[in-house]
C-alpha cells in the first residue's frame, strides 16, 4: 500500500452526495455509497455519517466532462472517477458518462469504484498490489468483494485498528483525563511539552510524553502513534526524565534516581540501577541528557546547571562541574529535553524549542526566531 501523506485528524467523518448520477435511483445510490464507506469503517474506528445539506468532510458528485476542478472527465471508459486526499479536501467525483450499475456484471460497479475513491479521500494512494482495492485499474464486478490485506494494512497505518484503539481508550479512561486520541488533534498537538526526545541506534527519533511515545518522520509524527512505552520497551516506565543513545549503540533512560539500559528495545541486563552507581557525579531527577557527537561526551542538565560526563575518564565528571547553563547564550534553565539532530543540538522547554549552534556556542539567530513552536516544527501540528 502507499500513503499519500495526509489523513483526517478526526474519526467521525461526514459526507454528502451533492449531485446524483442520471442513470440510478437516489435511494439505491445512497445505499451503495454507505456500503462503500463501510468497507473502511469495518477495520478502523472511522465513522461516516450522511448529511443532506451543510458543510461535510467529503462531498460526492457525479459529473460529466469539465466540472470545475480542472480535471475533466473523458466520457465512457478511460477515467472512471477521481478523489482528493484529505489535505486537498477529500471530495470524490464520478464520471456520469459511465454506465454505473449495482450488483451487475454489466456496466461499471458503483460500490467498488466508490470504495476505491473513498480510500483516496482517507489518504491512501494507489497500491501496486494487483489484488488490492487501491490498485488503480478497474477489474470488473466482483460479487464476493472483500478488502485485500494490503488495503487493511494501509488504512490501519493511517487510523489504527479497532482493537488497538479500544485498548488505548481503556488505558486513557483508567489512568487520565486526557481526551481520546484521534477524536481531535493528537495529544502532542494539544500539549507539545515533552518528557524526552532521543535518537535510536537505528537512526529513528522518538518522543516520550507521559506513558506514550511517538516516532518522528521528516515532517511530523509517523502514523500509528502514540504507542505505550511499556509495550515496546518492556520493563521501562512512563514519565521518563531523559534519554540518549551512546556511541556503543545502547540507549539509556533516566527517571528519578534510576536508569535503564536497552539495546534497541531489549533491556540489556538487570535494570533499573541507581544513577549514583552507573553515572557517578550526576544528580538524580535530571531534566535532560544528550550526547554531543562533537566530543562524544554526555551532557546532563538539571535546573540551572549542566554536567559533562566522560565514561573513559576517572572521575567521569571533572571537579569543574556543574557549570551554569547560562554560559550558553540563549539556552534557558529548567529544560525538558535535549537532542542532537542533523548536526545541531536542540533544547526543548514547555511548548517551544531552541536550536543551539555548536560553533558559536549560542542559540541560532534565524527567521523565524528561536524559540519556535515544537508542535508546528517537530510534530506537524
Amino acid at each position: 500500500y502507499a500513503l499519500q501523506g495526509s489523513r483526517w485528524r478526526v474519526k467521525k467523518l461526514t459526507y454528502k452526495i451533492s449531485k446524483y448520477p442520471r442513470g440510478l435511483e437516489k435511494g439505491a445510490v445512497d445505499k451503495e455509497v454507505a456500503k462503500a464507506f463501510s468497507v473502511w469503517s469495518i477495520y478502523t474506528d472511522l465513522t461516516f455519517t450522511s448529511k443532506k445539506s451543510g458543510q461535510v468532510h467529503i462531498e460526492i458528485r457525479f459529473e460529466r466532462g469539465e466540472h470545475g476542478d480542472g480535471d475533466p472527465f473523458d466520457g465512457p471508459g478511460g477515467t472512471l472517477a477521481h478523489a482528493y486526499f484529505p489535505v486537498y479536501g477529500g471530495d470524490a467525483h464520478f464520471d456520469d458518462s459511465e454506465h454505473w450499475t449495482i450488483n451487475s456484471f454489466r456496466g461499471t460497479n458503483l460500490f467498488q469504484v466508490a470504495a476505491h475513491e473513498f480510500g483516496h479521500s482517507l489518504g491512501l494512494s494507489h497500491s501496486d498490489i494487483k489484488s488490492a482495492l487501491m490498485a488503480p485499474f478497474y477489474r470488473g464486478y466482483d460479487p464476493d468483494f472483500m478488502l485485500d490485506n494490503d488495503d487493511i494494512q494501509g488504512i490501519q497505518a493511517l487510523y489504527g485498528s479497532k482493537i488497538e484503539n479500544k485498548d488505548r481508550t481503556n488505558i486513557y479512561q483508567r489512568t487520565t483525563n486526557i481526551p481520546l486520541l484521534g477524536e481531535e488533534d493528537s495529544q502532542l498537538c494539544l500539549d507539545s511539552k515533552i518528557d524526552t526526545i532521543f535518537n535510536s541506534a537505528e537512526g529513528h527519533t522518538y518522543v516520550f510524553k507521559d506513558e506514550y511515545y511517538w516516532k518522528l518522520s521528516s515532517d511530523g509524527v509517523e502514523s500509528g502513534y502514540p504507542k505505550l512505552i511499556t509495550s515496546s520497551w518492556k520493563g521501562l516506565q512512563g514519565n521518563i526524565d531523559a534519554a540518549f543513545t551512546y556511541k556503543n549503540g545502547k540507549t539509556y533512560f533516566f527517571k528519578g534516581s534510576k536508569y535503564w539500559r536497552y539495546i534497541n528495545k531489549n533491556v540489556d541486563g538487570d535494570y533499573p540501577k541507581d544513577i549514583s552507581e552507573g553515572f557517578t557525579g550526576i544528580p538524580d531527577n535530571i531534566d535532560a541528557a544528550v550526547v554531543w557527537t562533537g566530543n562524544g561526551k554526555i551532557y546532563f542538565y538539571k535546573g540551572t546547571k549542566f554536567w559533562r560526563f566522560d565514561p573513559s575518564q576517572r572521575p567521569p565528571v571533572k571537579s569543574s562541574y556543574p557549570k551554569l547553563i547560562s554560559n550558553w547564550e540563549g539556552v534557558p534553565d529548567n529544560i525538558d529535553a535535549s537532542l542532537e539532530y542533523h548536526g545541531y543540538t536542540y533544547f526543548f522547554k514547555d511548548k517551544a524549542y531552541y536550536r543551539f549552534n555548536d560553533k558559536t556556542f549560542s542559540v541560532d539567530v534565524a527567521n523565524p526566531a528561536f524559540p519556535r513552536a515544537t508542535g508546528y516544527w517537530w510534530f506537524g501540528c
Binding site: F73, T79, H116, D128, P136, F137, Y138, H342
Partner: protein
C-alpha cells in the same frame, strides 16, 4: 518512441496516459517534444512495474492493453509535497 506492436492505442496516446497518471511531467505545449527517449523508456518501465507486467521499457502489446483498462483518475506517481517541514 519504440512501438513493437500495432494497436489503436497510439504512441501519442500512451505519452498522454503516462503524463496524466504521473509517470511523465505534465505535457506543456511550449516545451513539447523535448522529452528524451530515455525518460520515456523509464516512464514506460515504471508504469509496467506498477501494473505488475513485464518490465521492458518498451510500449508492447501487454502495456497498451493495460493502458486501455478503465481506471481511477488519481495519479499513480505523486510528487512529494513542497511544504515538508524538514528544516527544523
Amino acid at each position: 518512441m519504440i512501438v513493437t506492436a500495432s494497436s489503436d492505442f497510439s504512441a501519442i496516446k500512451a505519452m498522454r496516459y503516462l503524463s496524466q497518471y504521473g509517470y511523465l511531467p505534465p505535457s506543456n505545449p511550449i516545451s513539447s517534444g523535448i522529452i528524451s527517449e530515455q525518460t520515456i523508456h523509464r516512464a514506460i518501465a515504471e508504469f509496467q512495474a506498477f501494473a505488475g507486467i513485464g518490465v521492458t521499457g518498451v510500449l508492447d502489446n501487454e502495456t497498451m492493453t493495460f493502458m486501455s483498462i478503465p481506471r481511477c483518475g488519481v495519479k499513480d506517481v505523486i510528487v512529494p509535497s513542497l511544504n515538508s517541514r524538514s528544516k527544523r
